[in-house]
Structures are given as C-alpha cells and as structure tokens.
Subunit: 406 residues, 2 copies
C-alpha cells in the first residue's frame, strides 16, 4: 500500500473496443487529477500503448472543462484505441517512456486484456523499484470482467440491443417470418441476453436466445425455430456472435479467418454468421421469409442511446481510480463496480488487485440461462433491468375482432 | 369532387415496410374519424389487403384514446402489414368485401405500390358507381413518393442513419480501417445520403457515399476507397443496398435471388453486399482492417430514435386524409407534404390525385449528388437537415501535442 503523496506526471490511455461511455471514464479521471497538486502534467497517449511506444502524447491539462464535458458525452475513445498485445520488449519500452516523461500515475481504460497489460507494466515498475501508481479502469460492453457486478459500457450496449429487439419484434409481428439478429459478445452472452429486456407482451420476441455459454447444435437450433414458428406464426432469434459447437469451435470461425493481435477470431464486421443460419432455416425448414441482421458496431457506438446509470458509473470508475492513487491509499489496482444487496439499485466502488481482472473473463452464470439453453431466466431479467434502466414505452391495440358477415 | 356527406363505415389498413411513425398516421386518421358523425364503424384490416380479402377486421372504434396514443408512439404497423400485390381478381374481391361491410371510407397507409392498389380499388368503385371515399396515406423511409417534399417515416429513418454514421465514424477514428455500412433504399438514395448529416468535423466520415442513382463500378469504388484511406488513414463508406451497375443490374442481386410479390429483389435482411465489398477491398487493396455492417431493419423500426417533425407530420397526413374525405370536399386522393419556400422549415398538406403517387418513384435529383457520384452536395444537406431535426451533440479534444523528449 502506498503511504506518501507522489509528485510527477500522469498518463492515461484507452484500449480495446470503444463504448459510448468510455470518455466519461477519461473525463472523470482528468477532472479528478486536476484537483491533486502532486499530479503535474496530464498526458493522454493516442491509440493506447501504441501512442506510448511512439511517444505520441497530447496534453490533457490544456483541454477546457467545456470541451471535456462535450467529449464525455461523445461515444468512442477520444484518445483513439488499439488492439495491440504488447510483447515483453514492448513492456520494457513502455516502462522506459513512462520514466522518460516522469510518469508516476498511469491509467489504462480497457477490458481484461488491458488489465493484463496494466498488470505487466506495474510489475516492470515494481522490479525496477520505480515509485509508481498504476490503475486499470474498467470498460467493456461484453460485461465479462471479473470482480464487477457489471462493467461500464454494458448498460448502454444492452439498452441498444434491447431497444433494437423491441423494434424488430414489432417489425416481425407486422410482416411475419423468421428474423435472426446477431449480437456482439465473444465469450460472454450478457449482451445477447439483454435482448430479452425488450419483451413487453407474452408473445413478444426474442422467442429464442443462443449464448456462447451453451454448445450450439444446428439440428437443435432448427428444431427450436420450427417449434417457435409453429407456435407464434413467426420467430425472432437472438444469437451471440460467439456461439460455438460442443468442441468449443466458434460457429462463425468456420467462415471468418481473421484474428486480432490477442489471437481472438474476428467475429464482428461481417454478416456471414447470420446469413449462414438464415440459409439453413430457409433450406431445411422451408420457411420463405427468413432475414438476418448483424447488429454490428452500432451496439458500442450509437450516440442516441446512452444509459444514464452507465454514464454516471463510467465517470465514477475513472474518478475513483485517480482519487485512490493520488490520495496515496493505493499503489495499483482496478476499480470494480459492486452492487449492494436489496431491492433498490445502488452501487459502490471497490479497488481490486490488477491480476484479479486480468486475462480471464467471467461468463453468464448458470442461474441466468434456462435449462434448454435457448433463453434467459427471470434471475437474469432481475439482474439486468435495473442496470439498463427505462426502455421506450410501447403500446398495442386491444384489437376487438369484427364478426364476419355471411 | 364529392359534394355531399356520405354515411357509412370506414376501413383503414397498413401496407409495405413499416416505419416508426406509421401508427401516428393510423391514430391521426382514427381520432379524426371519431369527430365525423357520418362515419359509423371504424374497421381496421389486419395485414393490409390480406385482412380485407379474409375479412380479418378489428373494431378500432373500441380502442381507448390512451391505447391509441400509446400505439401512435410505437414503431411498426400496429394493424400488421403485407407485401401482397393484388391481382385483378383480388381487387374485385376487395371491392365486394368493402360493399358487404358498407365501407364508404377507405384509407390505405403505404408507399407507391399501396397508392397503386388504392387507385385500382377506387377505379373499381367508380365503375360500379359505388359512392365511396378512397384515400392513400403516404409512408416510406425511402422518401421516394412523387408530389411529396418528403414522406412520413423518412425523417426518423434518416435520423437513425445519421446517428449510426456519427457513432461509427467515431469508432473508426478510434480503431482506423475501412468501414462500410449498407443502408436501405432500393431505388432512391435519400436514406443513404442522410449518412452525410452526421458529419461534424471536416475529416468526419462517411468519406464516400454510393447511391442507386449513379452506376456503380467496382474499379472506381476501389480507387475511391484507396484515395480516401490514404488521405484520412481510414475510410467510412455509406453504400445503398440498391447500388446497380451500368446496365441497371443491382450489385446485390448477383448474390441474393429472392424477390417479393411486386417482383422486387429482396435486398434487406442479409449481409452479403457488405461482405462482398469488404472482401474486394481486403483482397485488391491489401488493407487488413475492413469491416462491413448492414444497418438492416433497425432503420425502420428502432424505437429510441423518432424525429419530432416526422411524428407530427405522419399524424397530420392521416388526419387530413380523413378530414378531406369526411367533409365531402374530396372523393379520393393522397395527402402530400409540401414545403413552403424560405429559410424557416414550414410544411403544408395538399391533396393530390391517387395516380400521381402510384407506381413510379422519385429519385435523388441531380443537384443533390456530387459530380464524381460518390458524395452528396450542400443542396442535399440544406434540404434534409431541417426535416431530420437535431442530432446528438458530440465533442472532440483539442489535442495539443506534447513535444517528444530526446
């Protein structure tokens, strides 16, 4: 535990897939930093660790509060992002740059891969006995970071997904058929599960939900679709981009070959998985009207749909990371969102060790998934609804039938 | 011109692709009808002319004002929709059903195909000397109906598309590469062009816009993308689903075989066109990070994004159609939106003959498209921005560079 105030510069960067509230965390951190005298310069590295390695820095101390507040409301990493996985040589070089610019406060906003990078940089500093404050600031629409009840970015992504399914269900009700929507989330199904939050009436879609936490079998999928289609005369399906077969092989990977620097298969930015599933339904079930949309990057970047909780919490994790480091109570860590038990939605913030959120991800717990593995449970709705907050209000005609005339 | 008040029942139906404000027109018509004593029963046919043919009707007079107002705010045809093109036998049968239920007031909410159907039914009535009021009520996100400055549904669709590009441009700025978004609009490029409304800063995307009004050539497209990518280090492209080659053959039709009842190629509900274009860029230009999203059905059904003008105007065309018919001033027609010249955005409503909006569609005028055929002009922005109304406010860091240390 850090005991004294440490004088020096601060550096902050953003990494991984952007969210609509990732700049709230940036601005929360910068505004908090301005309150602490030991923090001198506030550097922002452009495009994550790439900007550090190339010494591509901007002076965030010269941004007006007005600009910062405008940026806070703006989706997608204002400092730019990166998907680079640092090599051991990179980590050594990053540490050299931090020393060169007398950076004593380092903050990295990102997911579990970024937490791992932050952890390695902190270890470098520790080995070199460099006096250093090093924090990871959580973000990911995937909601898959350990230690967190949920992560900044998820609530807004979930609000978008729930809204999208709400509208699409109404569209499918007007022009019946089978509609598949592919939702982001490589290993964790939280975002796909959020589709269920858009249900208002008992016959509303999504009628089926497929998550990466359960093995996907095409024959079973086709049987489910047929059953739902026969029951409702239509069928809306939520499918995670990360669905995988029993051996763990992603269904999408049969068609998409590209991988990122972390070795992950590139699942987004293509309509291939949706088109594959739609094609199977068309040919095997003989249903004529089958459509597939891939919700795509809008899920993490759409400016019109931001959850108020999400904006507030993202701001707070940024602020708390700087506060914990600058008041000297903590030398390193990640700020986790913890929910208080009870009916009312209240969250607190807790410092956790870097290694606790690094590398591994958390999945949908079993209690959130139905037995058949094709829907979510009430426990999931109870968990997610308060986080996401209010959704658009919709109505339906009473629809009193007119007696047919003879 | 109708001269006397006509006593009888009313029937209203919805047709074609839903919009987020199509129920405003329905509710505008129903609430207006309740004010006119000669209009007795208010029937709603389920799923357009299919519901008329099958006598599948509901009693809209039994819906409360509260339910109707909830429905007005709800996306997608509350009565259900249909893509059925009536045969001459169907038209004769429809007319028989209308007579059987003593329908003297008929309203059909839809696009140009629906206007044609309405026109045919009106001709049947005229030939039979059946005293009848017959109106088409405009809707289409494609904005391609003649006589109209713009059509109900377009403004909200355009707001969604502009917002989507605004966010996606920021995402692409954070993680540079080439990003293609496929936008709805079979023959008219208005909705794709609306992507340009999301530009705030000079280097903002979409950097290229491809409309169905200009022939699409792959070599030219690849050259454009390369030039933009070299200039900006990234490239966001708006592509209409309806782009076609010089012979008029849709690029998408090379991959999608399905057609609807009107003989139109099914362009939506597949990621094939985006994936094709992304694949060409990847292989021919050697750019690694290329992504494609198809904005899909969200453009016409997303509940969170509704233009206030659009909601008001959609309500008004429904109301005015019933008013014109019930006050006996007009026997048939379609209510068109006309914009008053001048700086301030003011619209009026005008009855036009059914045949004027039937069948043919209007395209983007030449003055809205740049010479190179890969962008829109200021004239388009001046036309579309007041219709769509305010977009989300975004900000950008000043970004004062830190001098590199030696």
């Amino acid at each position: 535990m850090a005991k004294k105030q440490l004088t020096g510069n601060m550096l902050i960067a953003q990494s991984g897939g952007p969210t609509v509230v990732i700049n709230q965390s940036l601005v929360g951190a910068v505004l908090e930093a301005k309150k602490h005298k030991p923090i001198k310069k506030i550097y922002g590295a452009l495009h994550g660790i790439k900007g550090i390695l190339e010494e591509d820095l901007i002076d965030l101390g010269r941004e007006s509060v007005r600009t910062l507040e405008d940026v806070a409301r703006t989706p997608s990493s204002a400092l730019g992002s990166v998907r680079k996985k640092p090599t051991p040589a990179d980590c050594a070089n990053i540490f050299k740059v931090l020393q060169k610019y007398d950076v004593r406060y380092f903050f990295y906003i990102g997911g579990n891969d970024s937490a791992e990078t932050t952890h390695i940089i902190n270890e470098e500093a520790r080995k070199a006995k460099y006096d250093f404050r090093c924090f990871h600031i959580c973000k990911t629409i995937d909601n898959d970071l350990r230690e967190n009840d949920h992560t900044p970015g998820f609530s807004s992504g979930a609000k978008f997904v729930a809204s999208a399914f709400m509208g699409d269900n109404l569209d499918n009700r007007a022009l019946p058929g089978v509609k598949i929507n592919i939702v982001m989330g490589r290993h964790a199904g939280f975002l796909t599960a959020a589709a269920a939050l858009g249900r208002v009436y008992p016959d509303d879609g999504p009628h089926l939900i497929y998550l990466p936490e359960r093995p996907f079998a095409m024959t079973r999928f086709l049987k489910d679709v047929k059953t739902a289609y026969n029951k409702y005369g239509r069928c809306v399906v939520a499918v995670s981009e990360g669905i995988a077969d029993r051996s763990g092989k992603p269904v999408a990977s049969l068609f998409i070959k590209e991988t990122d620097a972390h070795g992950n298969v590139q699942l987004s930015g293509s309509g291939a998985l949706g088109d594959l599933l739609a094609g199977e339904i068309r040919s095997k079930l003989g249903i004529a009207r089958v459509r597939a949309d891939t919700l795509g990057y809008l899920q993490r970047s759409f400016p019109g749909i931001i959850s108020a909780n999400d904006a507030k919490e993202a701001r707070e994790v940024g602020r708390q990371a700087v506060k914990a480091s600058a008041t000297g109570t903590q030398a390193s860590g990640s700020i986790a969102i913890v929910r208080k038990p009870g009916k009312k939605y209240v969250v607190t913030y807790k410092r956790v060790p870097l290694k606790n959120v690094a590398k591994e991800t958390q999945h949908m717990p079993a209690k959130f998934i139905n037995k058949a593995g094709n829907d979510v449970t009430k426990a999931f709705i109870d968990y997610a609804a308060p986080i996401v907050g209010p959704l658009p209000k919709i109505g339906r005609l009473k629809g009193v039938r007119v007696k047919k005339k003879k």
